[in-house]
C-alpha cells in the first residue's frame, strides 16, 4: 500500500512535467521570435528530462518492469495523473507563458520542499530539478510582467489568460490519501501547505504585471486523481504516443 502511494505520487510528479513538457514542445518552430523559440524548446527539454527521472523511479517502485518510456507512451488518458493545468491548450503565446508561470511557481516551491524528502532518490531528483525550475520561473515571471505591464493589447491578453487559467490553479494544492501517506512517510509535503508561499510569489509577480487575480475560489479538479481529465489530454496523447501505438516496440 505504501509503495502504491509512492508510485501514485511519482506518477503525479512525472506526468505533470511530461504533459507540460510536451505542450511546450508544440511551440518548436512556431514562436513569435527565434529567442523565444529556443527558450521554449529548452524549457520543454528540461521538463521532459525531469520526467525521465520521475517516471523511471515510478517504474522501479512499481516493480513490474515498466520503464519511463513504457509509462509515457503506453498508458491511456485515464491512467495519467497530471493536474489539469498542464494539459490545457497553448492558446496564444501569452497564455502559454501564463500557464508556465503558474506551474513554475508551484514547482519551485515543491522542489524546494522535496529536497529534504526522507526518500533520497526523491530528494536527488528534486535537487536536480530545482536548479532548472529556478531558471524557468525567473524567465516566465519576467515575461508575464513584460506582457502584463506592456501594451493595451498584451495586457488584455494576459488578463484573459489569467482569468482562463486561474480556476485550474487550486488543483495543485488539493490533498488526498496518497498525499497523507507521503506526509506520514516524510517523503513529500501536504500540497495544501505550499499555498501560502505560492500565493506570496504569484501575488508579487502578478501585481508587478498589473494583472488582477480572479476572486472566485472555485477550482476544477480530477487530473491528479485521474477521476476525469479534460478532453484536451486525449488529443495530446494521440500525437505524443502515435509512433509507439502505430509501430509497437519501435526503437532507434
Amino acid at each position: 500500500m505504501a509503495d502504491n502511494a509512492l508510485f501514485q505520487f511519482l506518477l503525479r510528479m512525472g506526468d505533470n512535467s511530461l504533459i507540460l513538457g510536451h505542450r511546450v514542445s508544440e511551440w518548436c518552430g512556431h514562436s513569435p521570435v527565434l529567442e523565444e523559440d529556443i527558450a521554449l524548446a529548452n524549457t520543454a527539454l528540461d521538463l521532459i528530462g525531469q520526467t525521465q527521472f520521475w517516471l523511471g523511479l515510478a517504474g522501479e517502485v512499481e516493480g513490474k518492469g515498466r520503464t519511463a518510456d513504457d509509462l509515457a507512451f503506453l498508458r491511456d488518458a485515464w491512467d495519467y495523473r497530471n493536474v489539469l493545468l498542464c494539459e490545457l491548450p497553448n492558446g496564444d503565446f501569452g497564455q502559454t507563458l501564463m500557464r508556465q508561470f503558474l506551474y513554475d511557481a508551484w514547482a519551485s516551491v515543491m522542489m524546494g520542499r522535496l529536497m529534504t524528502s526522507s526518500d533520497e532518490r526523491v530528494a536527488a531528483i528534486a535537487a536536480k530539478a530545482s536548479k532548472e525550475v529556478a531558471y524557468h520561473v525567473e524567465r516566465s515571471g519576467d515575461t508575464v510582467v513584460g506582457l502584463g505591464d506592456g501594451t493595451e493589447e498584451s495586457h488584455a491578453r494576459m488578463q484573459a489568460a489569467l482569468d482562463y487559467l486561474w480556476p485550474y490553479v487550486g488543483e495543485m494544492f488539493d490533498s488526498d490519501e496518497v498525499d497523507a501517506a507521503m506526509v506520514k512517510a516524510g517523503i513529500a509535503p501536504d500540497p495544501a501547505s505550499l499555498r501560502e508561499e505560492y500565493d506570496a510569489l504569484v501575488g508579487k509577480v502578478l501585481g508587478q504585471a498589473t494583472l488582477t487575480i480572479p476572486t472566485d475560489t472555485f477550482h476544477h479538479k480530477g487530473g491528479r486523481t485521474g477521476y476525469m481529465h479534460t478532453e484536451h489530454l486525449g488529443h495530446l496523447l494521440c500525437t505524443m504516443q502515435w509512433l509507439q501505438r502505430a509501430y509497437p516496440g519501435a526503437t532507434w
Binding site: E35, I38, A39, A41, N42, T43, A44, L45, D46, L47, I48, G49, Q50, Q52, F53, E120, A123, A124, I125, A127, K128, A129, K131, E132, Y135, E138, R139
Partner: protein, 153 residues
C-alpha cells in the same frame, strides 16, 4: 596488460571531448564524478548537466568507446544525480578554453565578466537560453558581436 591506474583512466577521460563543445573535455566539464575499480570491473559515475540534455547518451557512448579502445573490457557506467551538477565543477583549464573558443565562461555573479571576443564590458543579454541547455545568448555593445555565455548553475 596490467590494470591501468585510476589516474591513468582520468587522463584518458580528459582526452574525450564534450560532443557539443569539443574544445573542453568531459573531465573539464566536471561531469565525471567517480572512477574506481571493483575487482576487474571499472566503474565510472557520470552526472548529467541538465536533466534533458540530449548529449547525455552521446557522452556515455563516447566514454564507453574511449575506454574500450584502450582495452578496458569490463566497464559499468552509472548515472549519479546527487549532488546535482554545478558549473563550479568546471576546471580552470576548461574555463580558459571556453573563452578562447568564444564562449564566455560561467561567472558567480550570473552574467559574463567580459566579451570573449574583444574583452569589452558593455554587454547585454539577448536570450536566457541558447543553442544548448547550458548556454545563454549575449551581445557585446563594444564590438557588436553576439556570443554564447555558459550559464552559471
Amino acid at each position: 596488460m596490467g590494470q591501468p591506474s585510476v589516474d591513468t583512466i582520468w587522463d584518458w577521460l580528459d582526452q574525450v571531448p564534450d560532443p557539443e563543445i569539443p574544445v573542453i573535455s568531459l573531465v573539464d566539464l566536471g561531469i565525471i564524478r567517480d572512477v574506481k575499480w571493483e575487482g576487474d570491473t571499472l566503474k565510472v559515475a557520470v552526472t548529467p548537466t541538465y536533466s534533458g540534455c540530449p548529449a547525455t547518451s552521446v557522452i556515455n557512448f563516447d566514454i564507453e568507446t574511449a575506454l574500450r579502445d584502450r582495452g578496458i573490457e569490463k566497464l559499468t557506467l552509472t548515472q549519479q544525480l546527487s549532488p546535482p551538477w554545478t558549473t563550479d565543477w568546471l576546471s580552470n583549464k576548461g574555463k580558459a578554453k571556453l573563452e578562447e573558443y568564444g564562449i564566455a565562461p560561467p561567472s558567480p555573479k550570473g552574467e559574463p565578466d567580459r566579451c570573449p571576443n574583444c574583452g569589452g564590458h558593455n554587454l547585454e543579454r539577448t536570450s536566457q537560453f541558447g543553442s544548448t541547455p547550458c548556454k545563454a545568448l549575449w551581445r557585446c555593445r563594444d564590438c557588436l558581436e553576439p556570443f554564447d555565455y555558459f550559464k552559471c548553475i
